[in-house]
């Protein structure tokens, strides 16, 4: 794993209070280029809160975020997107009635000018889509296929492709295999692996030990809003990680 080098994103002693409740306390997180970090923890351990802090949806009460070594203060998810951080939501956020390519570029469609008017550049959308799907080794019949005609795994693949179409450096995936049939889980995990090879840092939140152990290089456990344990994947075991989730070392 020589590609693991550059530090893309670092969270230093992030603390988040909601009124009197402490959701996160002095939490640290690092993600490098080409690396996959698994984040595990029980419900309420602070996984979602941490991800929302990283994406700029919540402002941390204390602590700081470093993108490419530079401290940044995020006002909204738009800011984190501009810094190269993308979220893949559990509910996928795709428009079923539109083709794959138009979903990937939705809201950021390439256009061409004819006179003073701007028109959609369908040819470019198709070219960029084919190239991008090819790079991620995503197989679909055609980029013109409507998303509602795809299987759950293919939809997840399109959602991931969408998140990485604009030079994302870090992609956060919230339970990427939770809604999938068993035979499709493998394909999505393969996709995460090929994403890593392109140099993207991937953060996977998952309850499934199979997923964590198939794609992650490192795993960290949150327990009651604190860093509980962290390890290289090769130096731990399933039983140990399950123990961390329940607060046992």
């Amino acid at each position: 794993m020589s590609s693991i080098n550059q530090l893309l994103l670092e969270a230093k002693s992030v603390t988040k209070y909601f009124g009197t409740i402490t959701a996160l306390e002095n939490v640290n997180l690092k993600i490098h280029a080409g690396e996959c970090l698994g984040v595990v923890g029980d419900n309420g351990a602070g996984k979602s809160t941490l991800m929302k802090v990283l994406s700029g949806l919540y402002k941390p009460s204390a602590g700081s975020l470093f993108f490419d070594g530079k401290e940044e203060i995020l006002e909204s998810p738009k800011d984190s997107q501009n810094l190269g951080l993308e979220m893949v939501y559990q509910d996928l956020a795709l428009a079923g009635n539109l083709p794959i390519g138009e979903n990937i570029f939705l809201g950021r469609e390439p256009t061409k000018n004819i006179g003073l008017l701007k028109f959609l550049d369908y040819k470019k959308i198709k070219e960029l889509t084919d190239a991008h799907l090819g790079k991620l080794k995503i197989n679909v019949k055609s980029a013109d296929q409507k998303v509602e005609e795809l299987s759950g795994g293919q939809r997840q693949a399109v959602a991931i492709a969408r998140s990485t179409a604009f030079n994302a450096k870090v992609v956060i995936m919230d339970e990427p295999t939770a809604a999938l049939a068993i035979k499709e889980v493998g394909k999505v995990l393969d996709l995460i692996n090929s994403l890593k090879k392109t140099g993207v840092g991937v953060i996977v939140i998952s309850h499934r030990m199979d997923d964590i152990f198939a794609v992650c290089d490192r795993v960290m456990a949150l327990f009651q809003g604190t860093n509980f344990a962290e390890s290289e994947l090769s130096k731990t075991s399933r039983d140990e990680v399950i123990g961390w989730i329940m607060g046992k070392k």
Partner: protein, 337 residues
Amino acid sequence: MENKDQEKESLYLKIMPYLEKYGILLLLVIMIVVMHFLQPDVFLSWRNVTNVFKQISWQSMLALGVFMVIVTAGIDLSVGSIMMLSLMILAIVAKAGAPWYIVVITPLIAGFLCGLFNGLGITLLRMPHPFIMTLGTLYIFRGTGNLISGGTPISGFTDEVRYLGHGRIDLTWLGLEKSQYLPVSLVLIAIVYIIFWIFMNKTRTGKWIYAIGGNPNAARASGINVNKILVIVYSLCGFLSGIGALILAGRTDSGYPNAGLQSELDAIAACIIGGASFFGGRGTVLGVFAGVMIMGILRNGLNLMDVSSFWQQVLIGSIIVLAVYIDVLRRDLGTRK
């Protein structure tokens, strides 16, 4: 076995998009052929064909506006009332002696503002469904139209004002007879439909209208300002209703209180017959045109055959139910659960 399934599926994938796009045109062609055989001397005569276009001219504008609204998974019940109010304002401005170019613009502005009112109401007042806002304005706009006119017809416009609804383009220079003219309203329908086809299919805003109908959350997550797009859509719908008012003014030479009564239902029917889905995100401009034509030809053909207008109601109603049932079947087949 699997190979055969795949072949079947890929054939299905190839045919479906075409059937979805052009199936409704097939129905239109079949209707024209059937009518031609039933009324061989009259139906396809120059006079009757231009008549059909003149009759559908203002409905086609309302239907196009309602279509865009339906694509966003919304509904606009007020288009008939917008048209009536715009028509009344036009009549009053005309009677006040304003020059024709002012008179011609007033219904367009009035329609646009009514649509803007709908759009702002739906988004700013956060109405649970556009049905409620536009049901309210259905009454508000028609009531306002009656208030400003005293509920009585106002007649008599100049030729310039009547041009779009009543004008004729002479074709004698093509060697045709004097009676074989082209109605200006037909040309207008063609121009407006082409512009809106380009708008819906070739621009980002058009694409976003479809995206909002498909999944508003996806549109929002993609950074699309959903409320802004909705306001644009309802405003354009009002604007098209204003064009409808201008055409109607030309056709009837009068502003009258019952103008466009229940025509919102005709407009919705044309969209549904034309393949627009009430679930949003689905339908084509070409389909709406076919829907308007099917309703126009049905009425015209049944009139030619002296069939009672009560039967026309029954038939149009049946076609709506059938068209939606086909949409339901299509969704079952086309969508993986």
